[in-house]
Symmetry: C2
Subunit: 702 residues, 2 copies
């Protein structure tokens, strides 16, 4: 059911409205009545007749009419009963403020679940429990116990932490940022982040969405909602619990199982979500996006009246992966003419310490007309003759709205009027050059995502039937680990090139197979009990002739029996020796929340020691697969170094796409690792040298 | 000459004192007269008799008495003459405010040099030019044109950027931080960062030193001064120009040649300098250090009244390389007893949303007594019943000064009184948990440096004479590139193990040498014109017998002559084949500022592709060398993976120490690369497989 009738109700009841000023039930009613909400307001309190100018009723039933939204500000133990009452007045939305549910223990979690289930059965959407409530400034509705009342504006905020919700209200007010909706989602018993994202995506008053999340419990819904929302407006999210310590803190607080941190990175990137690195960055990025147009590229022009801050800004630009823009020669000539050498046009542009307001304005006008400039950071640090407020006015007057412009007026409270002048005119202000660049980086990342090419997922022609048979047989018999032989069988059916080979159960058979496929061959022990084959002497390479094949079979069996007497040996796999090439690893891990997560890394130490791997959510497009390769540090190796030829990148990309198709087709594949996947130069066929696969246990039929 | 008489003068003259309020010469005199300076103040202005209550003289000579400090606030063109006047009044210090010197061009740089030389010759120290002046709050002396007057306190600031100097004054005042000295060093014509560091290190009023630098022109002096200063008090420095873009910006601004960025990292670490990552971090770290004791370890206890901010803090702690502390079980039991379960003692400690001030106090008292807690971050985010100011008071009352405590009261301006209460009582406050943790990380890094073991540089017994002979012959004959043969000769003299070998000039000789040292041998072409020997077929390995040695000699010469006909071939180096081992690279690059910078990295792709290398200033101790190995990402490889044996770390460390000794003994070695240095398991002798060395050209005798 839509959240519209919850967040945009025409009548609101506060259950647990209280006379005591320090109680949430008092503050909420006060915020509601003083906010200017035009709809019906009802207070429920059996002990009084009126409260803060509202008529009081002993119960919802006593009020007798239908109510859109019920806010329950009662202690935890009374919540269940109160929610039951809500159904009787045909409420569309219920907000539960009390804590003491899922975050406390298992029994309380059950109670929370019962309440949520009850709401669903009765067509009511539930916000909370353990939340601050919500604010909708468009209709002057404030059902929170926050102390600060936000000004209306285009930024909407949602937060899993009620405390950070009210901090963001405070900070927005302090920074003169207007808010549209503020939604505290608390324990997310019913309404989760993705619901709110969808609602805000379609809310015409919301221009920018800001979110704080500690976990994402319904990954696929989240990805879908986030991607849809991002396509309509910028979404900035701070996801905490990114470290082991943070995760422990978050789990003890939210009681939710963790997804791998790398999955969040992949998910946010795919969905176009701008990820905030710190709490301060959340509103820093949001304010720029709410006030300024998106940049067309990554070239940041820095305009400053002092060298030091300009250098700091230049460092920040490069650290953010962007470029310091230079002015076009014509523009430089024009400027030096107009301003009589009062400007040092070498980038960053130094308007010098004695800069008049008009000098800033001239440079900004010229920069806006310069096609090589995508965004502008203006720095002022007050000098003897600086006129900050006049300069702010001149800057504001010079803007044509064609490119994002942000400002940093560095210094103390003497600059407050100038800063206010800037933000009031829609030019976002930051306390340091570094923070201003963080905002531009967020804008730039979002602009790049918006300009991405359409996603076209290739479907390869495959033998799906064959894989279905192999997997279901394995699942039925409970042999959930697929080794090299069956794994190659599966991959072969999905178009991977696997070397010619077969399983031998005797030395004689090994020799026959080898002679059939041609020498030299590789021989590998096949046993479900042996993982690191080569460490135990279970791999012989370059077996050159029939006699050697014969000997190798015997010797290998002897060795393995001696070293691992308890291992069940199925035989020896004899296959065509593989030519040389670069060893890479491609694979998939099924994330509990987000589904198949594709992985790529250069083989061996690159993955094991350097952890140089990248992830991407399946299904993947060819461009995204190429992008995965490019985003590793070891990409140089793929391109070829010191005059060596590079490898065929599209062959690796195609491998990733085929794994994407396979693991999307077969959700029972939990893990898949092709290690190594051997890639040669352009046009050559890459080869699956070894593979391992893990299947899910078969679901019991009920 | 000491800077004491400059920064602590008894008489001050302002040359260029002006009636016009917007002139620096007016503002400086105003700041000086209004500041309460007890010494003699003289204004020099030929046009008036008195100015701002001071007697005016037409010239220094006209005043007729000696003056300690002369501040020259005249335009660039008049500075030289004014400085000449200073000598006549026996000034100890001269401050030149005007810009338009080195930062503008070569001619102006010469003028600056002349002025500086003149000062030196006349026993005067020169601050600037192109600077803001300086402030010494201890004697109420302010000879800057900064608009804000700092309050006295224990933090001293120096800055290469005048603009950032005045911004720091503003911010310190806004954050209620007191300053002792504020010194704008400008173009550093005479007084540089290291001079100021030495002065502040010995200044009893200065407790913490904060610096902003764009370049370091006299590296060795800086290292010495910084290390001495750090051993007395914390030094926090923001070094800008760390990226290519920042460097370009800095060079156009300061006109100084760049040192490699990695060198700064190594230098700061060695000297115990706390490096700030951003402008805001500078004062964030300084305020904690100026108010709180140093931590004994890295365990940070987080105390919060809300989950979300606690998780953010926990993430920040782990990202900073520190640990989230847990309370001791006994403490937990005590607390749950005393506070009747009003606290969730799982870390972070949650005192819950309804926390009374006393609840915070109880937890902090307990945490201060808990040996597992090294520092404490207190978070308050205002909730319905929070009493921020009372809580601040209760927190302050509970402190015993045994451990560093910092606080974050998150939210808007309603918290200002509470925050002021905290800082006034010496408890530093930060706007976000992340920034608070940045401060604790700085403290922790400094504390660790202070606790480092004494530096004992090993001197190995070497054949220094032999190296001296080799190098001076090469320098005399201008052959400055030492290849494998001579390079191994030099390293052998410094105790490195080099394989037995000799240079052959004929096939016959090659055979004889090979037979003498024993097969198998390696054979390598020796030519000053060939760098990548193996790429051109100039390396044969595992040559097994006399005939093969003979053939190899001929074949190699044939190949190379064909491929590089113009190459001068000196012969073929025949040496004992080297056993297997791990290939690492150790080397040295002589930084123009800081001298020999030792380098270590795992061979091949680790260095070339992953850039996984570390640097350290020579001379190096054994512990520092081991630390270099540990700080690479590829350290896992050295320790041995998957049951493989690790390599002998002390052998690599010893190699680094020997290079350290060699390049300290011989400053003419500009570059040295042992690549690869082959290391085996513990106790085995590591081997120099190849080496290259570059010498400085011989200085012409005058």
């Amino acid at each position: 059911m839509s959240l519209k009738s919850l967040f945009e109700p025409e009548s609101v009841a506060v259950v647990g409205a209280s006379r005591k000023e320090e109680k949430a039930g008092h503050v909420i009613l006060k915020n509601l009545t003083e906010g200017g909400f035009k709809g019906e307001i009802v207070a429920i309190n059996p002990a009084v007749n009126t409260l803060l100018g509202c008529s009081c009723y002993p119960s919802l039933a006593a009020y007798g009419k239908d109510i859109d939204l019920v806010v329950i500000a009662l202690p935890q133990k009374d919540v269940k009963e109160a929610v039951a009452e809500c159904a009787k007045v045909n409420a569309s939305g219920v907000v539960v403020i009390a804590s003491g549910f899922k975050e406390v223990g298992a029994e309380e979690a059950r109670l929370e679940q019962q309440i949520a289930d009850f709401c669903v059965r009765h067509g009511m959407r539930l916000l909370g429990p353990n939340c601050l409530g919500f604010i909708n400034t468009d209709i002057n509705l404030n059902v929170t116990f926050a102390k600060t009342r936000p000004s209306p504006g285009g930024i909407s905020v949602f937060s899993q932490s009620g405390a950070l919700c009210s901090v963001m209200i405070d900070l927005a007010e302090e920074q003169h940022l207007g808010l549209s909706k503020v939604i505290s989602i608390g324990n997310k018993a019913d309404i989760a982040g993705f619901d709110v994202l969808s609602y805000l995506a379609n809310d015409p008053q919301t221009k920018v969405i800001v979110g704080y999340l500690e976990d994402i419990a319904t990954g696929k819904n989240f990805v879908k909602a986030a991607e849809e929302a991002s396509s309509k407006k910028p979404v900035i999210i701070l996801k905490s619990g990114t470290t082991a310590a943070g995760l422990r803190a978050a789990s003890s607080h939210t009681g939710v199982l963790a997804t791998d941190e790398s999955a969040y990175g992949a998910v946010f990137k795919r969905a176009g979500v701008i990820r905030a690195d710190s709490f301060e960055a959340l509103l820093d990025v949001a304010s720029a996006l709410s006030m300024q147009p998106l940049p067309k590229g990554d070239n940041v022009l820095i305009v400053t009246n002092a060298g030091g801050p300009g250098i700091l800004a230049a460092d920040a630009v490069e650290n953010a992966g962007m470029k310091v823009a230079e002015l076009d020669d014509k523009v430089t000539t024009f400027l030096s003419h107009e301003l009589l050498s009062q400007v040092n046009s070498a980038s960053p542009i130094d308007v010098l310490g004695d800069a008049e307001p008009s000098r800033y304005a001239s440079v900004i006008k010229a920069a806006q007309a310069d096609a090589g400039v995508d965004s502008i950071l203006i720095i002022l640090s007050p000098q003897a003759m600086s006129k900050p407020a006049e300069t702010a006015r001149a800057i504001v007057g010079s803007l044509d709205g064609s490119k994002p412009v942000v400002a940093t007026f560095m210094g103390g409270s003497a600059l407050l009027p100038a800063r206010h002048e800037l933000t009031a005119a829609g030019l976002p202000h930051y306390k340091s050059p570094e923070r201003a660049i963080t905002a531009l980086r967020g804008m730039s990342a979002y602009a790049n995502w918006k300009q991405r090419p359409p996603r076209m997922v290739t479907r390869f022609r495959v033998n799906r039937r064959r894989v279905e048979r192999i997997l279901s047989r394995r699942q039925r018999t409970g042999r959930l680990q697929l080794g090299e032989v069956k794994g190659k069988d599966v991959l072969g059916a999905y178009g991977f090139h696997v070397p010619d080979g077969a399983l031998a159960s005797s030395a004689e058979e090994a020799r026959e197979i080898a002679e059939r496929i041609g020498f030299p061959v590789a021989m590998k022990i096949v046993s479900p009990d042996i993982v690191h084959k080569s460490d135990l002497g279970g791999v012989f390479l370059n077996v050159a002739n029939g006699e050697a094949a014969d000997d190798s079979y015997e010797l290998m069996n002897l060795k393995i029996r001696k070293k691992v007497p308890e291992a069940h040996i199925e035989g020896v796999y004899v296959e065509k020796m593989i030519g040389k090439g670069l060893e890479v690893i491609i694979g998939m891990t099924r994330d509990p929340q987000f589904g198949p997560m594709l992985m790529f890394g250069l083989g061996g130490i690159f993955v094991e020691v350097m952890k140089d791997v990248t992830f991407h959510l399946a299904p993947i497009t060819e461009q995204e697969a190429i992008q995965m390769l490019k985003s590793t540090k070891s990409y140089d190796m793929l391109q070829g170094r010191r005059g060596q030829d590079g490898v065929d990148l599209s062959a690796i990309a195609s491998g990733l796409q085929r794994i994407s198709q396979l693991t999307t087709d077969f959700p029972q594949i939990l893990e898949l690792d092709i290690n190594p996947f051997i890639v040669g130069d352009f046009g050559s066929e890459p080869i699956v040298a070894d593979v391992r696969m893990t299947l899910a246990a078969m679901q019991e039929k009920e």
